[in-house]
Amino acid sequence: MTAETSKHLFGSGHTACAGCGQAIAARLVVDVTGKNTIIANNTGCLEVFSTKYPESAWGVPWIHSLFENAAAVASGVEAALKYLGTKDKITVISQAGDGGTADIGLQALSGMWERGHDILSVCYDNEAYMNTGIQRSGLTPFDTNTSTTPIGSQSAGNPRPKKPMPEIAVAHGLVYVATASVGYPRDIENKVKKAVSIKGPKYIQIHVPCPLGWRHDPQITYDIGKLAVETGLYPLIEYEYGKLTGVRKLSKIKPVEEYLKFQGRFKHILSSPEQIKQIQAIADSNIERYGLKVESVSAPQDKEAGPL
């Protein structure tokens, strides 16, 4: 089971939905880290759509054990490589969706980070349990309509904001923490490159639109990803050794409706000015906190255009 014939280390022919942001991001990540990579993958969409026996999309050694233990399995892989004396030549990745990262897998992940393993953790954040049918996770945004936070006379959707995973990662003393978006593929590549150039535990959380769960047109995955960033709802930030060192600045910040209106999961909000206000407040808070707005015309601008 290898993907030797593909020019990518994550080959085509897998069974992801059309327009799956996670499949794009996973390919970008492994193509950057290269063939000397070992991946431990939690259970989830990515594992299911890429490894249905007897086929596999992976051109690197790859292991899946359970839903919540990829970080611990990766720790064992890294310890074994250290014992064998080959760790310096091999990148170890522990990857999961948002549920496998922020909910059921958080304990193992926290342990792996605290122990200081030289491992890159990647969270493919599609903001709900998509593999089991769009149930709410700790990274589901405020007011999202999911199958376990449905809207109704007593419910406006998910009652809680996203768990602050990047901050949780920073608090563990990680050498590198970043958010990224599939709307900015070059940015993902650069961040992965930077992450693996630093020895120690690091975390990259990649926003990956899910046409099925978010109920958007599969053709606009990149645009949806970009809009989340351009509205301030998904700020792209970098921390090195605990210090905020990089922020993707925005020359023109769009109102949150521009992002919400393309997605069925937010349809109920569009007719509710009060809910839009609350979500705009989340974006405004990000804009202020991270200084997302370009202060003067000479400041660096958002140049990377996603393909339309």
Binding site: Y53, P61, S65, A72, V73, V77, A79, A80, L84, A108
Partner: protein, 392 residues
């Protein structure tokens, strides 16, 4: 050369001699002394290994899973709640055909919370695919660990092995034990060289999604391999005897069973007490014996049948229960004789739960109660005064 060692120290010495490259564990009484000893060996440079201190047993099992998948021998140890917490990974390790070796310092399960010995923990994972061995004494615990790697890592086996030793009784007890030399162990146990592993030169996908077209065969293959393990274990016992000069391990041990009219079947350290009682009663002319189960998984049905077929009365004495049904070993041994002509009268006794002392008198009492009338769920040394209405 014999040394007086605590059981946990003896096991740590055995593990050191097997040269695992990765050790990972989470503390739980009464397993702690084993991993503390190993941590000290690593700290002092007596053992070259990565010692990974994890945040839970679930992760301890996952770390050794990852290490063995990378082609490196690994070790972990746990007990009771720890085994229950890692149960999901325990099944997964066997399913992925990774020959992890783990010590289970057998302890009761909660609730009520109790840290003392019985076998309820190991019994919960009897269907997981692991080979399960039970040690009677500290020397056997030491020896079984060395054999465990040989059994599990066989290229046609590739299954994890759990060495069970009674918590406190064996982990914290002291015995003079013979520690083999490194040369002896090296010649008995070759380096781990798996057929498949995570290797950047030969990228494999391990742990894929398998649909109904393939799943049953993967599970059947494990079951089928257990039949090979039944054939392998006696060979390894014999080879071990040649290399180390003492008999240890195997599927079952018959103790004065020939011509016996009453035989107790048991596992673990209680077998030592039962042997003493057998000797006492034999001196008085009573024809009694013991059948010790060393290998509980795979279940040695044939050896049990052969040992017991001519014994009129058999007592299954176990430190485990299957709440709401007959206790596990009783059910399985009765099933061995199902449909056979003139089967023994097989009675079941539950004893020593939560570390309740098992005395010579307790065992004598069992032999006494072993009449022609079949008993199925007799609890020995139960205190009726604690079972009044106010306790229910």
């Amino acid at each position: 050369m014999k040394e007086l060692l605590e059981g946990s120290q003896a096991v740590a010495e055995a593990v050191r001699l097997c040269k695992p490259g990765v050790i990972s564990a989470y503390p739980i009484t009464p397993q702690t002394h084993i991993v503390e000893e190993l941590a000290a060996m690593v700290a002092e440079g007596k053992l070259r290994a990565e010692f990974v201190n994890v945040e839970s047993e679930h992760s301890a099992a996952s770390v050794v899973l990852g290490a063995v998948a990378t082609g490196v021998r690994a070790f972990t140890a746990t007990s009771s709640q720890g085994l229950l917490l890692m149960t999901e990974v325990v099944f997964n390790i066997a399913g992925m055909r990774l020959p992890v070796v783990m010590t289970c310092a057998n302890r009761s399960v909660s609730a009520p919370l109790n840290i003392w010995n019985d076998h309820q923990d190991a019994i919960t994972v009897r269907d997981s695919g692991w080979v399960q061995l039970h040690a009677e004494n500290i020397q056997e615990a030491l020896d079984l660990h060395i054999q465990a790697y040989r059994i599990g890592e066989g290229p046609k086996i590739m299954l994890p092995v759990m060495v069970n030793m009674d918590g406190f009784i064996l982990t914290h007890g002291l015995e003079p034990v013979d520690i083999p030399s490194q040369e002896q162990v090296d010649s008995f146990l070759p380096p781990y060289n798996p057929l498949y592993k995570l290797d950047v030169e030969n990228p494999l996908t391990l742990g894929p999604l398998v649909d109904p077209d393939y799943y049953m065969e993967a599970r059947f293959a494990i079951h089928d391999t257990h039949k090979d393990v039944l054939r392998l274990i006696p060979l390894i016992r014999d080879e071990f005897q040649k290399a180390f000069g003492r008999s240890s391990g195997g599927l079952v041990e018959e103790y004065r069973v020939k011509d016996a009219e009453k035989v107790i079947v048991a596992m673990g350290s209680v077998c030592g007490t039962i042997k003493d009682v057998v000797d006492i009663l034999r001196q008085k002319g009573k024809k009694v014996g013991l059948l010790k189960i060393i290998t509980y998984r795979p279940f040695p049905s044939l050896e049990i049948y052969k040992a017991l077929k001519d014994v009129p009365r058999v007592a299954i004495v176990e430190k485990a229960v299957s709440l709401g049904s007959y206790s596990p070993l009783l059910s399985e041994i009765r099933s061995v004789f199902c449909g056979k002509k003139n089967p023994p009268v097989i009675s079941g006794f539950v004893i020593g739960l939560g570390g309740r002392d098992i005395t010579i008198d307790s065992i004598k009492e069992i032999f006494k109660r072993l009449t022609a009338k079949q008993i199925s769920e007799e609890y020995i040394d139960l205190k009726p005064e604690l079972l009044g209405d106010e306790f229910v």
